[in-house]
Symmetry: C2
Subunit: 139 residues, 2 copies
DNA sequence: CTGCATGCAAACCGTTTGCATCCCC
DNA sequence: GGGGATGCAAACGGTTTGCATGCAG
């Protein structure tokens, strides 16, 4: 109702981008996705990937995750859920913590903004990075 | 206790950056801060602002807010609190919603990451931007 | 045939970095 | 005098954009 869902045409490159994104549970950056897609569509341009990722995010087909870190990441799962980002390697994973809907209500009462949504981002150290620095406690 | 607080030397430029940051309740970007500081220190370089901002964030004197949007923002208030970002103009404000400490406990149980912290970011439309689009409902 | 989508490359913008100089200790 | 801090400018990485061509409707 408030999201017009512009209904974009599903071109070959859009379809493949979507498929590749749906294939992984990680949350790839645009250039990671570019590399994945290029294996099937060698002549695709980075610009096309960016353009279509943005377009699909706007039309609600995918989620653009704007968390900390330098690059934006994308997610084929569009229902609200939270993320955790490794402070060392920057990897982003889903985290299975119940979404707190009351937060929006609370926020609405506490601000003059018209609330659209919320997102929780945890910061941590992933198991891989933990192993790589085992024993470096006090430094 | 877990933050070594490396105790950096408080040079003139660091002091002034800190003062200017503390002066405002908004969460300025590096270049906004640069403009503010330049009024008092006309010869300061953007690089110095970035370097010192990072340094001060590392030593826990200020907070580097890594939220959505293209630019990082800085906050003189270092205790944990949540933010709301305007989806239109990108402005970031504090929001007075109680910090949910249990989230960290829940998260710890749900992941193999070693949790460091969490942050909640609301998205909304600030009152200024609301006014500027009053009546544009159905496009 | 017409217009949107693409590939390509250049432009952009925020941030980082190398280096010579400067200043504090 | 020595080491960190600064100013400056160039480099960088991610993203966006302009334009000529291609392809689907």
């Amino acid at each position: 109702m408030n999201a017009p869902t512009p209904m974009i045409r599903l071109t070959t490159q859009r379809q493949i981008i979507l498929e590749e994104l749906a294939k992984v549970t990680t949350h790839p950056t645009a250039s990671e996705l570019y590399d994945m897609v290029r294996k099937r569509l060698p002549r695709i341009g980075l610009g096309t990937v960016y353009r279509n990722l943005d377009l699909m995010a706007e039309s609600g087909m995918i989620l653009k995750i704007e968390v900390g870190g330098t690059q934006k990441r994308f997610d084929a799962t569009t229902d609200n859920h939270y993320h955790i980002r490794c402070a060392i390697c920057g990897k982003v994973d889903d985290i299975d913590v119940p979404v707190i809907e009351e937060l929006v209500t609370q926020a609405a009462a506490a601000t003059s903004y018209h609330i659209l949504g919320h997102h929780v981002e945890f910061t941590g150290i992933c198991s891989t990075c933990q192993k790589e620095r085992h024993g470096k406690a006090a430094s």
